[in-house]
């Protein structure tokens, strides 16, 4: 196993020595435990069921280094393009995992709302951080999640007190730059009872060099809380990206996690949502585009732990070239979770004969009074629809472009906030392969 952890362990140990006694004991302990766990697990291989179709060998073969920063020389003008036109409560920008104050606008929300960096929250000794850190992940998570914890140094902390509604979205922008750099950002989102907020995580690259981003987000939604969470990955086509979202929803909480996958040579996203109180609900929606030899792997798990919870899930992918995609959607219905209402849909549009998707719904139902449906469909652009559009005067290229956009359009069309919807629709459309008539 030595070769498969090689590099990462040494780098983490070097970092631990370097940091010395500056960090609180709980964090040092958490990092140490995670590093031990990572060393024991090793990087996953395709012999691991959860990684059967996605080889991370290219990640194992590269020695990624943790840069100290890289934000020097980056100005606000470099960041502007990654923003949407519309209001924001705050924007926190991170470069290679480190907070870049000169690019950020932390805002002044008040009312007890915390929008801060993880490093500052830890340094301040904020009790919330110690309570939240690792709570979503628990003892689960794969080797990369353990690796994120082992390296955890910075990221964001968002906490919305009970009953507070934050209107405009909070933007967390993670930029990668430089060759063979890595970043392990950690985001903690703590939603108080009946609070409401929208959080957007954007992952982008400045430049086209190969990098590794291994991000983990932990979400705790209190009773009746409403959270819209968006995760947009538009890094370089050479980048490796591993993302994990671990969310827990209390009674009557409503959680929406959107995943928009546009860049990356190899992307692996895990979204784990535990519906942990009666009447909680979640929506997991995803769209992605892959072309060339790029790989996108989406694993989701919805755990219906309590009665009367509902979940809605739609993932759609557009695949071109010799790209590969994986969709694995697990739905667990615990013995107590009667009256569960779960619906999962996975669709892929193959634009080339060499593109391939492996799709696997995985329903584990232990209660008897439940409604669970799932559907998967893989297909090509509908020839009859193309003819219909051409018979109305659109040329074949226009017709194909329209149909490819439309394929994912009905998912993105459900985004409730107009400026975000327009922003993501534009970003998605710009990544779509140009149709070959």
């Amino acid at each position: 196993m030595e070769t498969l952890t090689n590099g990462f362990v040494a780098e983490a140990e070097r970092l631990a020595d370097e940091r010395g006694a500056g960090d609180p004991a709980w964090l040092v302990r958490a990092r140490r435990a995670a590093l031990d766990r990572f060393a024991a697990l090793g990087l996953p291989t395709t012999r691991d069921e959860e990684w059967r179709f996605t080889s991370v060998a290219p990640i194992a073969e590269t020695r990624f280094a943790l840069p100290r920063d890289g934000a020097a020389g980056i100005g606000p003008e470099d960041v502007g393009a990654f923003q949407w036109a519309g209001e924001r409560t705050a924007t926190l920008v991170f470069v290679n995992g480190h907070y870049a104050a000169h690019l950020s606008t932390p805002g002044r929300e008040g009312r007890g709302v915390v929008i801060d960096t993880l490093a500052a929250s830890v340094a301040r000794g904020a009790v919330d951080v110690e309570r939240q850190f690792g709570r979503g992940v628990g003892s689960g998570g794969h080797a990369f999640t353990a690796l994120n914890t082992a390296f955890a140094a910075d990221g964001a902390m968002v906490a919305v007190p009970d009953g507070v509604v934050v209107d405009a979205p909070i933007h967390l922008l993670f930029l990668s730059t430089g060759r063979e750099t890595m970043a392990h950002p950690r985001v903690l989102i703590d939603m108080g009872a009946n609070s409401q907020a929208t959080v957007v995580e954007t992952y982008r690259a400045l430049g086209a060099e190969r990098s590794l981003t291994n991000a983990v987000t932990e979400i705790a939604a209190g009773e009746g809380a409403v959270l819209q969470h968006y995760r947009v990955q538009a890094e370089a086509d050479t980048a490796f990206h591993v993302g994990g979202i671990y969310a827990r929803a209390a009674r009557s909480a409503s959680l929406a996690c959107w995943s928009i996958g546009l860049g990356g040579a190899l992307t692996r996203n895990d979204v784990v949502a535990v519906l942990d109180g009666e009447g909680a609900s979640c929506t997991l929606n995803g769209v992605y585009v892959v072309d060339g030899t790029r790989v996108a792997d989406n694993h989701t798990a919805i755990d219906h732990a309590q009665p009367h919870c509902s979940s809605r899930e739609v993932y759609k992918g557009v695949l071109d070239g010799r790209s590969r995609a994986v969709f694995n959607g697990k739905i667990i219905v615990r013995p107590d979770a009667q009256k569960t209402d779960a619906k999962q849909t996975n669709r892929a549009l193959l634009l080339s004969e060499d593109a391939r998707i492996n799709t696997k719904p995985q329903l584990e139902i232990f209660a008897n009074d439940v409604k669970c449906t799932h559907g998967a469909a893989v297909g090509q652009v509908d020839d009859e629809a193309i003819f219909y559009l051409r018979a109305r005067g659109l040329d074949e290229r226009q017709a194909r472009r329209l149909l490819i956009r439309a394929f994912a359009g009905d998912v993105l069309g459900q985004i409730p906030l107009e400026p975000l919807r327009a922003h993501f629709e534009r970003a998605f459309a710009s990544r779509l392969p140009e149709p070959q008539p």
Binding site: R390, A391, L394, L402, L403, A406, G413
Partner: protein, 266 residues
């Protein structure tokens, strides 16, 4: 007299591994309404689809001239831009494409071809709303995805609505009446009749005579097994209704396989 808008001569078409049309002759004047009637499998929908350029058919012989041009050399979008419109028998559902967006894109593609400027959203909506009122359509359909979740009647009305917005020179209605209840049929027919004009020819493809009570054709053709067996005035449809297709098909032996229509009544 002006040249005919459409002249089909000796049209032979293969599809699905067999010969479907076996020598169709048809001539339509601008402003005229022709009905093509025939039993299931006679080839009438194939005729409609070939004229609109569907790629699944192979023309093995014959010619089609539209406004004097070689229609068979044109791709489907060029035919549409030149003023041919086919109302589909089975309108296609296109999830994720907004009905308004689709129709505006279609109209602007046609306008661009004709050297006309793009219609802005306001002008387009004015035209669209007006046409929808004529067809007694719910305006909410404009914001829905194209045909998605529409009832059978809504789909057919949506086709006629598109026709009304695109204002073709030759409209081909492929079994637009099938699946409509009598109220919906009357609405569709009045929409079609409102579009009758000296510059607009219409080819109605139908299985039933019923439609022709509401849209009265100038010429009726009876198609069977890939051939036009008989052509005549509107009374032919009534006779057919009374006596059934067997009457025409039975008389084939005496007429011989060359029973394609002579130049239809002008």
């Amino acid at each position: 007299m002006a040249d005919p808008i459409l002249v089909v001569e000796n049209l032979h078409v293969r599809g699905g591994g067999r010969e479907i049309l076996r020598g169709i002759n048809l001539s339509m004047d601008a402003g005229s309404i022709h009905a093509v009637m025939g039993p299931n499998g006679s080839g009438k929908s194939t005729l409609a689809r070939v004229l609109s350029g569907h790629p699944e058919y192979e023309v093995t012989a014959g010619t089609v001239r539209y406004k004097g041009q070689d229609l068979l050399a044109m791709d489907p979008e060029t035919r549409a831009r030149e003023g041919i419109f086919m109302a589909f028998q089975y309108p296609v559902e296109i999830p994720g494409v907004n009905n308004t967006y689709f129709l505006k894109a279609a109209l602007n593609a046609v306008r661009a071809y004709r050297g006309q400027g793009e219609l802005d959203a306001m002008d387009f909506m004015t035209v669209a709303r007006e046409r929808m009122r004529q067809l007694d359509m719910d305006e909410a359909l404009l914001t829905r995805s194209v045909n998605e979740g529409f009832s059978g009647g809504e789909k057919k009305r949506n086709e006629i609505f598109q026709m009304a917005v695109l204002e073709p020179a030759l409209a081909i209605l492929d079994e637009t009446d099938s699946g409509l209840d009598i109220d919906a049929l009357k609405i569709v027919a009045s929409g079609v009749n409102a579009m009758r004009s000296p510059d607009r020819a219409m080819l109605l493809v139908t299985h039933y005579q019923r439609l022709l009570n509401y849209i009265v054709p100038d010429v009726v053709h009876v198609l069977s097994d890939g051939l036009i067996l008989r052509s005549g005035g509107k009374e032919l449809a009534l006779e057919l209704e009374e006596r059934g297709y067997g009457w025409i098909e039975g008389s084939r032996a005496s007429q011989g396989a060359s029973g394609s229509s002579e130049a239809a009544a002008r």
